[in-house]
Symmetry: C2
Subunit: 217 residues, 2 copies
């Protein structure tokens, strides 16, 4: 006999995620779950997004990592509330972790909660957090073949950020092949070319996010 424990674990997570979603809806805050490989530029992109939108919206950040609190400290240094979740080994955030993090931020006063998931293109996709949207960041140095290898995350993302385009001349990255692979998995998500470091393309991505924040009010 085989016991499939994944089903009840995911069912429990989904119920907690719906609770988070209801709390966020009640407060009128939009939650964005940011997925990417380690080192794709999640934190830098979040900081660039905050810089683009902080005059218009009240923002907090939930940082997920296996260990360390360096990312939450980076965000707090910009005067933005941040909570660090250390998963203690787990390769993804789960809805109950987000539920506890929502207790620790001033939710009623917020328009946008950005969740930085653990750096991983696989495991987070199975765990709904109650977010309003999920995005994936791929950085140019990772290569244009990643949608072929990690199709689940590219199929599910509502927007795809191609980061570190300032380094594109340094790497063999075929943008047409990348866009083509994405389109076979995902017919609707926009692809934003950007560099969180130089600021290129950040405004276009931020406008997409602003429209989603307005939609959640």
């Amino acid at each position: 006999m085989e016991i499939d424990l994944s089903r009840p674990i995911l069912a429990r997570n989904d119920a907690l995620a719906e609770g988070n979603r209801a709390r966020l809806a009640e407060s009128g805050a939009f939650a964005l779950d940011v997925l990417a490989s380690p080192g794709a530029g999640k934190t830098t992109t979040i900081l660039a997004t905050i810089a683009a939108l902080r005059e218009r919206y009240r923002i907090a950040v939930i940082e997920g990592d296996i260990a360390s609190k360096v990312d939450a400290e980076k965000v707090k240094a910009h005067g933005i509330p941040a909570v660090q979740i250390n998963t203690g080994g787990a390769c993804h955030l789960e809805a109950d972790m987000i539920s506890r993090a929502l207790d620790a931020i001033p939710l009623a006063e917020l328009d946008l909660v950005i969740i930085e998931n653990v750096g991983n293109l696989v495991c987070p996709t199975e765990f709904d957090l109650g977010q309003g949207a999920r995005i994936v960041i791929l950085s140019v140095p990772e290569g244009d073949d990643k949608p072929l290898k990690y199709p689940g995350i590219f199929a599910m993302a509502e927007a795809i950020l191609l980061n570190k385009v300032d380094a594109i001349s340094f790497f063999d990255f075929d943008e047409a092949a990348f866009a083509d692979s994405v389109r076979r998995l995902n017919g609707t998500a926009p692809i934003f070319r950007m560099s969180a470091k130089t600021g290129e393309g950040v405004a276009e991505w931020a406008e997409w996010l602003a429209a989603r924040i307005e939609g959640a009010k």
Copy 2:
């Protein structure tokens, strides 16, 4: 009541891994498990390693990915036997997958079996495959803070390859801070500075691996 299914699953995996280890020892082949983030340059590093060692050793490659067979095709194009494992969603290879892959390669004729694990800095660490050594590749664009965030994999690696050093002027990567973080987790693993693309540093890494292959004979 909570049921911890991870213990029996890992115990079963460990038993299968010991079986793989015994088969490899019997044939005198050394198995190298290569761990890294998506896009760190695992396949390119494996191809550079093959180029450095193929005159001296008989080599085969086991490629692990969620989906696609592009990596095995790249290796086969160089005239090296390769088996592609598609995990069908799982974020790591397991010992039973390697056992079946060993059936599909000419083990008795080999000196070196290179296993490319799924791109993930978390999940593969818990699953022994029966390898002779595990290494981790970190690429410069991922950032120098990764040992802080993914300590398990840097603590366990027997060698650490810092790849894409040809791009170091393009990224803010503090090599001293990186080495210091690694040393706090791992007192013995050498750090090889290299670029699989330009070939810089590949010879030093290949000599370390050659010594391990000789030790397994």
